[in-house]
Amino acid sequence: MDIFLSQVLNGLQLGSIYALVALGYTMVYGIILLLNFAHGDIIMVGAYVSWLVMAQLGLNPVLAILLSIVACTLMGVIIDKVAYAPLRNAPRLSILITAIGVSYFLENGAQLVFGADPKVVPAFTDISTINLGGLALSFPAVVTVLVTIVATVALTLLVQKSKLGKAMRAVSEDMGAARLMGINVNSTISFTFAVGSALAGIGAVLYAMAYTQASPTMGMMLGTKAFVAAVLGGIGSIPGAVVGGLIVGFAEMIVTWLGLSVWKDAVVFLLLIIVLIVRPTGIFGRTMSEKV
């Protein structure tokens, strides 16, 4: 029973980080139909900021958390303004290729600035284990799961209840009509990037807390898996991203639990293929009929 609970927590922890990253993918796709391949690399930037603040400047972990989230948020908005905004009316393929370019730029830029060696992010707290009735739970795992729940609830409220959320939904449904209704489309898109990147920043802190190392290419596989999670759940859907993230996390956990860790990535991508064949819109995806 203990092993079962521990493994469920391991799956939840993995899945939560994927879910946070997948949320960023899904929000950006929902509003401008762009697969933002640079999203995983924003996590990398966040992890390096944590390292800079704590290991290099020796400042407080709370400051490191805040600065990482702020840095990721700014990074997301700047990337949109510099790389994507000028291509708003260009064919979608151009902007997709630009996203891949931005991803490479960030990875190689980090390698140039910080070197290829992994940097170790110091522990955020002295607590590393929580004892729950004889069951030792990893503190980062528990924090990751709790933070993800709070972030998801907050995001849902933001999108469903706030005025900005309403604007986001309007732009995602029909950009032209939203503009005619007096919605500032550009600032709404910027806001979407900011929120998605802030979630990536939270993800970066949780990642650094659990896995302690920042490296230039750490966002690559993480981003790809989160992309799979977003597509599994139905890209553009917020609950879909969370469910997709958890499915990917649990799939990896179960495969590794069975002693088949080598097949972990293969199983995740196989899941993607199956979903694309059986239900191309993903679990929570809607089929939108285009009116001619």
Partner: protein, 401 residues
Amino acid sequence: MFENVSRRQFVTGSAAAALALGLVGCGGNNGGDSAGDDAATSIKVGIMGPHSGDNAQYGLACLNGAQLYFDQLNADGGINGKEIETFVYDEKGDATEAVNAYNSLVQNDGVTGIVGDVTTIPSIAVAQASVADNMPCVTPSATAADVVTYGTNTFRACVTDPVQGVVMADFASKQGYKNVATLYKTGDDYNEGVNKAFCEEAESLGITITTQESYSDGDVDFNTQITNILATNPDAILLPNYYNEDGMIVTQARQQGYDKVFLGVDGWSGIYGGSENYADAADLHDCYYCCAFSASNESDVTKQFIADYEAAYDETPTNFCALGYDAAMVLAAGLTAAEEAGLEAGSEDYKQAVIDGIFASTVDGVTGSISYEDNGDPVKSSLIITFAEDGSEVTFDTIEA
């Protein structure tokens, strides 16, 4: 350990490049000046390795170590009253260049023994080329099993990777661990080879291997494997991997409440106190790994070597410097035997006498006592390193071969 070039070591190694490049130049000059010398007054020895390119930090470290030993030997009067004259070749880490360097050493310089090559692939090429000449070669650091299999003329100063697994199994048995689990990276000869050798030796010593878990290159989350391992309640966990991954595994296992022993091999070197601390000092309690050389070793030989090396090169010696030093020492033991027999340098009898001399002698090197039984694989002791409360390395034990 050699197929994986760590960038950390590369950076530290390249810092020494300028210094050692000067040394390569000196070696060349020596060769030029001595062309007219009377052959009978000196013993000609080749030193080859990658002194430029990707593996330069290893080649230069071995070169510095070997050169230091020969310089000391000359200061003490050389062998049989003859000075050791070294000929240094940079093979740039390339097998073809290595064979060219070998041919040049033998045909142009007329050496009677070689310290080299350094990395696995050029070492295999040189081992194959040198069989026909029966030229005594001592590689400081090529770990692949193949290197010493082509003839009886090639020796190595280091132990092979699987031997480290055997050493750690012996250590586990000595410590009284009954149940041991392993967590290793798949798809890499180093990790898999050590793991396999450890499990075989441990089981033959009556230790139960509770589970063998694995992960793939690039993985950062080891929690699921750790949960599996902890469910089998082991006394110790073997991590036959490199320091950055071992650091993450130790951290995550401690987070899951594991407070017992970790065992490792020389890939652990640098986990704490190097360019980065890959695990917290507080998490490194009860961790033990084996290696050939540690600056923490309090033995007189090691202390003397570190002092001499720092005086000569103004930097702290690494494992590879020590192996280069010991490889030179092994070759010198063979040369001494041939010189004492009064044979003519370069003759077939002389070369065979060097080889027989190496087999007959036991060398007390800085990486342990080295002797050879059936082939060029050394029988040598290993150090067991552990960590003090502040994370610094402490020599815990010596495991005799």
